[in-house]
Symmetry: none
Subunit: 291 residues, 2 copies
């Protein structure tokens, strides 16, 4: 007996007709007729009665078919187990913009080297998107720019990074070695409606040290849209230091902010998906972060 035979009789029972069942199985009708005959001979009993209108299971056939369907389902589970292992050996790592800087890249590379059987897949998100993606199961772990709502997740801060101001080349503040937040008070500032208000206010340093509110410039969804508009002089932006290296455009100037709270990046994962793969990645990230 082979699975092929069990799949055949299961399909025949479902369709009630050798012709249609054959089509569904991508074999010819005589092939199915012959296979059924040999299966019945092998079992020593008739599974189907033949009628001009099609076939009907015999009483004994019904029991055989029930058992056959279970065997087919059990075999499909073998394929599913294998698929899960093939697919489950994928670690989806979420991030936005430059993520955790070099740490993001080094962590993925190091983990991939230690686990060649695992495919580490980077997944980029728009502003604040990596936290939602993690919670919705679109990624397995994420480098999350704080502040972020990580309810239902576990996280550990693994990176801090000074902030800088992004200016168009030639801006009056572009040649400075550093500027304070208040010095940028009058400049329109890029913002986004994609992220939660707390995220936006944190990035904008709102309220400012002197108690004033920022001047809001154009809104944008992601880092490329933001930098395009800064480069053309529409506004300035606050960003992590690594962005200067990752998006080193000739028409942009990056100047350190002297008094802006540094960015903290957390590695986060869902509490109910604390798998060995995820734990292993977190271990690698912590190792690299402590060097």
């Amino acid at each position: 007996m082979e699975l092929r035979q069990l799949r055949y009789v299961t399909a025949i029972a479902e369709h009630g007709n050798l012709g249609r069942a054959a089509k569904s199985l991508y074999v010819s009708q005589p092939a199915l007729s012959y296979a059924l005959k040999r299966f019945e001979a092998e079992l020593g009993l008739r599974v189907f009665d033949r009628t001009p209108a099609g076939v009907e299971p015999t009483a004994a056939g019904r029991e055989v078919l029930r058992a056959a369907a279970e065997a087919v389902a059990a075999a499909d589970l073998v394929a599913a187990v294998a698929e899960r292992h093939r697919a489950g050996q994928v670690l989806r790592v979420g991030f936005e913009a430059s993520g955790a800087g070099e740490l993001t890249t080094r962590a993925r590379a190091e983990f991939a080297a230690r686990h060649p059987e695992v495919r580490v897949v980077p997944k980029r998100f728009d502003w604040g998107g990596e936290a939602d993606a993690l919670k919705q199961g679109q990624v397995d772990v994420a480098f999350v720019w704080l502040p972020a709502d990580l309810t239902g997740c576990r996280s550990v801060v693994i990176h801090t990074e000074p902030r800088v101001v992004g200016l168009p080349r030639g801006h009056r503040l572009a040649g400075r070695e550093a500027v304070s937040v208040v010095e940028t008070n009058d400049e329109p500032l890029m913002w986004t409606d994609k992220a939660p208000r707390a995220w936006v206010d944190w990035w904008a340093v709102n309220p400012r040290p002197d108690g004033s509110a920022p001047v809001w410039g154009p809104q944008n969804d992601n880092v490329e849209e933001m930098l395009e508009q800064v480069a053309e002089g529409a506004a300035i932006c606050f960003a992590p230091q690594s962005m200067a290296a990752y998006y080193a455009r000739p028409d942009l100037a990056w100047v350190p902010l002297t008094d802006a709270e540094p960015l903290r990046v957390a590695l986060a994962w869902r509490a109910n998906a604390d798998t060995p793969l995820v734990k292993g990645f977190a271990r690698v990230v912590r190792e690299l972060a402590s060097m």
Copy 2:
């Protein structure tokens, strides 16, 4: 994926060694090695690690093997269901000597072909034994030589057959084209005490057409014992015509009887065992008998 592959990997896991597993599966070791390789390629993952000491399941392989063992067990259940039905689907057909001649054989063959799920088992009985066996439930149906007591049974005459006289080769009547019953009056006649008196008298044509009684020869229990003694000249016997064909011994002569009532054979079954199987067999016998 086929069951063969699942049985192979299950056996490999059990033996931990391709050579021993191959022996247990009655295939050669290279065949198993090749089959395993193709199975792993089909699944897209390695089920076993190979070592000089044998094979060991990988972590993923363990899960595949667990699922494979379940699928094999489920498939074995299909065979077990079939076996249970086969064991229950037995039709025991009783008869004596040549039964209803060719009809007996053709009926069993035709019914078996139409019902592969049923095992049709022939059961031979000594003289008159098939009627008692039927009533006692030793058989499901029987080709009964009449006359017979079929109280509690249903029956239908499905065969008639001329009678002949069995003579030792060289007997004074052996060369005749036909003889009358009265011409055999002086010859000792084989008889049996196994069957009812009515049966014995019918077969002996007692009383004879001229009112005389037969000359009783040796008694016997079955056809072989009878023919042995006829061949050695101890007596003659009356028999159905089919017996000449079925027991064509060189030391016997069969001569038609001109005035003996033909044998009538009935298909009989117990009235309280009017099952679909029995009814089906009766239908087949009637069909063939009417051809």
